[in-house]
C-alpha cells in the first residue's frame, strides 16, 4: 500500500491542541485496570511526572487488544522510564522532555548518556542562589528534538555512544529542530541504502556541525 505522507507544514501561530478524545469514545479500560492506572497516576503526579502518557499508554494497549496484565506491565515500565528520565534530566525538564527521555531510555540508551545530553543543553543557564537552591534547566523543551533523535538513531542500530556524541555536538552548537529532523531522515535513508549506521550518523552530523561553525 503506497502511502503519501506530507510531513509537517509551516507553523500556525495559534496554540490549538488536537481534539482530546471524549471519554465515551475512547477505548474502554476495564474497571480494575482503570483503577490501577489512576492509582499509579496519583503517585506519579506527586513526584512531578506527567500523567497523560500513562493513560495514553493504557488506551493504546486497550485498542491493540492487550490484556490487563500486559497493559499494567507497559504502564509500569513507562513510569520507571519517566522517573529515570527525571533523574537524568533534572527538576526543570518539561513533560515533553521527560517523555522524549523515556523513549530514549526505552530504546536502550544508558541513563548516563541521557544525563550527558541534558547537561550539554543546560550550559549557560541562569545563576542560582547557592544555599537551598535546586538545580534546574533554563529554556523549556530544548531537549525534545535531540532526545527523540537519539531514540530513533539507537533504534536504527546506531551505537548509543556514537549517537550521543554526535547529538551532543549539535546541541552544543545550538542546532535547530529542523536540523535534527533532517539528520534523522538523512541517516535513515543512508542506512536503507546500505551504509553502516554509525558511519552514517557521524558523517551526517559532521556536515551539520561544519555548517553551524561557519
Amino acid at each position: 500500500m503506497r502511502v503519501r505522507w506530507l510531513g509537517l507544514i509551516c507553523a500556525m501561530p495559534f496554540a490549538l491542541r488536537a481534539q482530546a478524545a471524549s471519554p465515551a469514545g475512547a477505548p474502554q479500560l476495564t474497571p480494575p485496570l482503570k483503577a490501577g492506572v489512576e492509582r499509579l497516576a496519583d503517585s506519579v503526579r506527586a513526584f512531578g511526572l506527567p500523567t497523560d502518557p500513562l493513560f495514553a499508554k493504557a488506551a493504546e494497549g486497550a485498542l491493540k487488544g492487550a490484556d490487563d496484565q500486559r497493559i499494567m506491565v507497559a504502564v509500569r515500565r513507562l513510569v520507571r522510564d519517566l522517573s529515570d528520565a527525571k533523574a537524568a534530566l533534572g527538576e526543570g525538564a518539561t513533560a515533553d522532555e521527560l517523555q522524549a527521555g523515556a523513549s530514549a531510555l526505552h530504546a536502550g540508551v544508558a541513563l548516563e548518556l541521557v544525563a550527558r545530553l541534558g547537561r550539554a543543553a543546560s550550559e549557560g543557564q541562569q545563576p542560582v542562589r547557592p544555599v537551598g537552591s535546586s538545580g534546574g534547566r533554563g529554556a523549556s523543551g530544548r531537549l525534545v528534538m535531540p532526545l527523540v533523535t537519539l531514540a530513533d538513531m539507537v533504534a536504527r542500530n546506531v551505537s548509543p555512544a556514537a549517537a550521543v556524541a554526535s547529538i551532543e555536538a549539535l546541541v552544543n552548537r545550538g542546532a535547530a529542530d529542523a536540523q535534527f529532523l533532517a539528520l534523522r531522515s538523512d541517516v535513515e535513508r543512508d542506512i536503507a541504502a546500505g551504509e553502516r549506521p554509525d558511519v552514517a550518523m557521524q558523517r551526517r552530523s559532521a556536515s551539520i556541525v561544519k555548517r553551524l561553525e561557519k
Partner: protein
C-alpha cells in the same frame, strides 16, 4: 550538682588515624582544572567608577554590553504553538479510516479521515503541539503503521506504531 557532660567531640586514636588519612588533600587533575576554566563564562565588567575619564567609561560600558556572558541561547517556543500536520494513507478499499495516537488517546472515533477526490487516499489535517507523537491508522478496525514515518521504538503490545516529531514553530 550536675553530672559532667561527655565531650561530644572526643576522638579516640583509631578515629584520629582515619581522620588524618581523610584530611589528605585531593589531587586536582590538570584536565579537570583546564576543563573547568574553559567553562567559566567571560564576565562582563561591573560599571566603571567615576574617577575614570568619560571616554574610558563609555568604552568600558560599550565593551561590557558587547561581551556575551556564557553561551548565547536561542529563544525556544515557551508553551509551544501547535503546527498543522497532514496525515495521508492510501486505502482504496477501506470503508472507514481514522487517525489514532497519544494525542487523541487512541480513540478511533476522535479523528476520522476523509477520502480524497481520487477515491483512494484518505487525509486529515491535525494541529499537533511540538514534540514526539506516536500514532497509527485505524483502517476498518485494523491498525496500520505509516511506511513513510519512523517506527516507534516502544513495542509494548506486539503491534507496531509510527512516530512523528513536530518541531517547534520557527525551528529554534
Amino acid at each position: 550538682m550536675t553530672r559532667p557532660q561527655p565531650d561530644l567531640d572526643e576522638t579516640p586514636l583509631v578515629l584520629k588515624q582515619a581522620i588524618a588519612e581523610l584530611r589528605e588533600g585531593s589531587v586536582v587533575p590538570d584536565e579537570w582544572r583546564a576543563e573547568l576554566l574553559a567553562k567559566v563564562p567571560r564576565r562582563r565588567r561591573r560599571p566603571a567608577i567615576v574617577r575614570w575619564a568619560p571616554i574610558a567609561i563609555a568604552a568600558a560600558i560599550c565593551l561590557g554590553v558587547g561581551m556575551k556572558v556564557g553561551r548565547t541561547r536561542s529563544e525556544s517556543m515557551v508553551g509551544g504553538s501547535a503546527s498543522r500536520v497532514r496525515f495521508s494513507i492510501r486505502a482504496p478499499l477501506a470503508a472507514r479510516v481514522s487517525l489514532v495516537g497519544d494525542f487523541d488517546r487512541w480513540d478511533p472515533a476522535a479523528v476520522p479521515m476523509r477520502r480524497d477526490g481520487d477515491g483512494e487516499t484518505w487525509t486529515v489535517d491535525v494541529h499537533l503541539p511540538p514534540g514526539r507523537h506516536v500514532f497509527a491508522y485505524a483502517v476498518d478496525g485494523d491498525l496500520k503503521t505509516d511506511p513513510n514515518a519512523a517506527r516507534a521504538v516502544e513495542d509494548d503490545f506486539g503491534v507496531p506504531s509510527s512516530v512523528i516529531v513536530v518541531a517547534t514553530a520557527g525551528g529554534r
